[in-house]
C-alpha cells in the first residue's frame, strides 16, 4: 500500500486538509475500522491518546470528499459515518442531566479501545509472520525413516462390533424374506373396456362415483377402479367420446356419453 507518511488517497488539492493530498482508494482499506486506524495514525500521537472527536471529524470529511467524487461507498462506511456524526454531536453538546443513553465519552473510549485492539493484533500478526517458518526458513529431516520401516498394522474390533455387524446382516436378510401381497388392480385397459361397456347405458349426466360403484363390486378394488376409470375417462374425453363435468373443486364428477358418439365406436 503506502508508506507510513503517505496517506493512500488524494481527494483533490486542498479538498480536505489543505496541505495533504489524498487519493481515495477505499479498496486499500479493510473496512471503516481500518480507515479510522489509518486516520488515527496520521494524528501522530500515541494511539492511547487519540482524539476521537478529531478522528470523527476527519472520517466525516473523508467520506464527504469521497461522495463529492461520486465514489460508491460500501454501506459499512456510511453506517460508521452516521454513527460518528452522532457521536460527534454528543461529544460537542453538553451532556443531558439524566442521560438515558450511555455517556458520549464512554462511547468514544469504546471506539478508541476497539482501534487499539485492532492495532495490537495487527502488530502481533506481523511478529507471528516474521517467525521462521517450517519449510521456508527451517527444515525438518528430508527423509524421515519411520515411514520406510515396515509397519505392522494392528486391526481393532470388538466382539460386540462383530455381533452387531452380524445382527445387521441377519436382519437385512430376514427382512428381505418378507413378501408383499400382490394387490389386484384394475388396469387402465380394463377400466377403458368396462367404461365403454357401461357408457352406452348412460345417456344423461351420471355421477362418476355411483357409476364406479356399480361397475366394481369388490370394495377393496374401489380405489384402484376409481383411479383407473378416471384416467381412462380422460382419454375417452380427449377422443371426443364422452364428456366430463365438475361444478366446483371436490364436487362430484359427472359423466355422460357424447351425444354424437356411437357406442360401438367407443368400444372400438
Amino acid at each position: 500500500m503506502s508508506g507510513a507518511d503517505e496517506f493512500p488517497g488524494a481527494l483533490g488539492p486542498g479538498s480536505v486538509t489543505g496541505d495533504e493530498a489524498f487519493t481515495v482508494d477505499l479498496d486499500g482499506f479493510e473496512g471503516p475500522l481500518d480507515l479510522l486506524l489509518e486516520l488515527a495514525r496520521r494524528q501522530k500521537v500515541d494511539l492511547a491518546r487519540i482524539s476521537v472527536l478529531a478522528l470523527a471529524e476527519q472520517y466525516l470529511l473523508f467520506i464527504e470528499a469521497a461522495r463529492k467524487l461520486r465514489l460508491e461507498l460500501a454501506a459499512d462506511y456510511l453506517v460508521m459515518a452516521a454513527w460518528l456524526a452522532y457521536l460527534k454531536s454528543r461529544l460537542l453538546l453538553p451532556a443531558p442531566p439524566r442521560a438515558a443513553e450511555p455517556d458520549a465519552s464512554e462511547l468514544a473510549d469504546a471506539l478508541a479501545r476497539r482501534l487499539r485492539t485492532l492495532e495490537t493484533i495487527r502488530k502481533a500478526a506481523e511478529l507471528l509472520m516474521d517467525r521462521p517458518r517450517l519449510g521456508r526458513d527451517i527444515f525438518a529431516r528430508g527423509v524421515p525413516e519411520a515411514v520406510e520401516a515396515p509397519r505392522r498394522v494392528v486391526y481393532e474390533a470388538t466382539l460386540y462390533d462383530i455381533l452387531a455387524a452380524y445382527a445387521r446382516q441377519a436382519q437385512k436378510h430376514a427382512n428381505a424374506a418378507v413378501r408383499l401381497r400382490t394387490r389386484s388392480v384394475w388396469s387402465l385397459a380394463e377400466a377403458r373396456e368396462i367404461l365403454a361397456r357401461l357408457i352406452g347405458r348412460v345417456c344423461d349426466w351420471t355421477a362418476f362415483d355411483d357409476w364406479v360403484l356399480e361397475a366394481c363390486v369388490d370394495p377393496k378394488m374401489r380405489r384402484s377402479a376409481r383411479a383407473s376409470s378416471f384416467s381412462a375417462s380422460l382419454e375417452l374425453v380427449r377422443e371426443g367420446k364422452i364428456e366430463l363435468r365438475q361444478d366446483a373443486m371436490f364436487a362430484p364428477i359427472w359423466i355422460r356419453a357424447c351425444p354424437a358418439a356411437a357406442v360401438d365406436e367407443i368400444a372400438a
Partner: protein, 236 residues
C-alpha cells in the same frame, strides 16, 4: 552438573575441531544432508561450502562426528545421507505399529465367516448383498483371523474361508460355539423389530476337517474343468 559441562564441551569441541571456516562448513553440510529428501552428492554439498573448503575433508569430519552415535552419516550409491545406526533398527521396526479400526465391510465379512463357515466369497456376497472387496478379506487374513480352508466342490472351485484359533483368542472365545445365538443377540438388543417365525442362526462350526463338499486347497484345479481339455503337461 558434570554431565552438562561435558555436553557443553562437545558443542565447544565441535566448533574448535577446526578453523572457524571448517566449523561453519560442517554446519552447512550437516543441515544440507539432513534436510535433503534424497542422498546428496558430494559435489552438491561442495557447491554451498565456503570458498576453498575441501568437501572431502568436511564430509569425512562429519562422518566421524556421527560415528558411533544413534544416527550415522553413510554413503549410499555414492551419495551421502543420514541413517539410523544399524544396531538401533529395532527402534524403528516396532515403531511402526499402527492401530486401525476394522472397516464396516471387513467387520461384516468377519461376522459372516464366523457364523457360516466354511463360506465362499459368493456366499458372503449373497448374505451382504454387495460385492466383497478383496481388501476386506485381505485385511482379515492379514490380521490372522481368517484363513483359506479349501475349495468348494462346485463350478469354479471357489475358495472356502473359515476362522482361525487367533480369531478365538482375539475375541476371547473359548470355542466358536460360544458365539451368541439368536436369543442372546436379541437379548442384547442387536435385533430391532420382529424377525419372521422360524428364522434361525446357523450353528457356527470351525472344525478344520474338510466338509464333504470341500476339497483341499493345494490340489491344483484341473484346468479342463475350468477351461476345457488341456494338452498333457510337457514340462514334467
Amino acid at each position: 552438573m558434570g554431565r552438562m559441562t561435558a555436553a557443553g564441551d562437545v558443542a565447544r569441541l565441535f566448533e574448535t575441531i577446526a578453523p572457524r571456516a571448517l566449523a561453519e562448513d560442517l554446519r552447512i553440510a550437516e543441515a544440507m544432508v539432513f534436510a535433503s529428501a534424497e542422498p546428496l552428492e558430494a559435489q552438491a554439498i561442495a557447491a554451498r561450502l565456503s570458498v576453498g573448503a575441501d568437501v572431502v575433508v568436511v564430509i569425512e569430519e562429519l562422518r566421524r562426528i556421527y560415528a558411533g552415535r544413534g544416527v550415522n552419516l553413510v554413503r549410499v550409491a555414492g551419495r551421502w545421507t543420514f541413517r539410523t545406526a544399524e544396531d538401533l533398527s529395532w527402534l524403528l521396526a516396532s515403531h511402526g505399529e499402527e492401530k486401525r479400526k476394522l472397516s464396516r465391510a471387513a467387520t461384516e465379512t468377519l461376522a459372516i465367516i464366523a457364523y457360516h463357515q466354511p463360506v465362499t466369497r459368493a456366499d458372503i456376497e449373497e448374505i451382504r448383498g454387495v460385492a466383497v472387496s478383496k481388501g476386506a478379506l485381505d485385511v482379515l487374513m492379514e490380521a490372522g483371523w481368517v484363513r483359506m480352508r479349501g475349495r468348494r466342490r462346485a463350478p469354479g472351485r471357489p475358495i472356502t474361508y473359515g476362522t482361525t484359533s487367533d480369531f478365538l483368542i482375539e475375541f476371547g472365545l473359548e470355542a466358536i460355539t460360544d458365539l451368541p445365538g439368536l436369543d442372546e443377540l436379541q437379548g442384547a438388543g442387536l435385533f430391532e423389530g420382529k424377525l419372521p417365525a422360524g428364522y434361525g442362526l446357523p450353528d457356527p462350526n470351525d472344525e478344520p476337517t474338510l466338509r464333504p463338499d470341500e476339497e483341499p486347497l493345494d490340489e491344483p484345479a484341473p484346468l479342463d474343468e475350468a477351461w476345457g481339455p488341456i494338452p498333457p503337461d510337457e514340462s514334467a
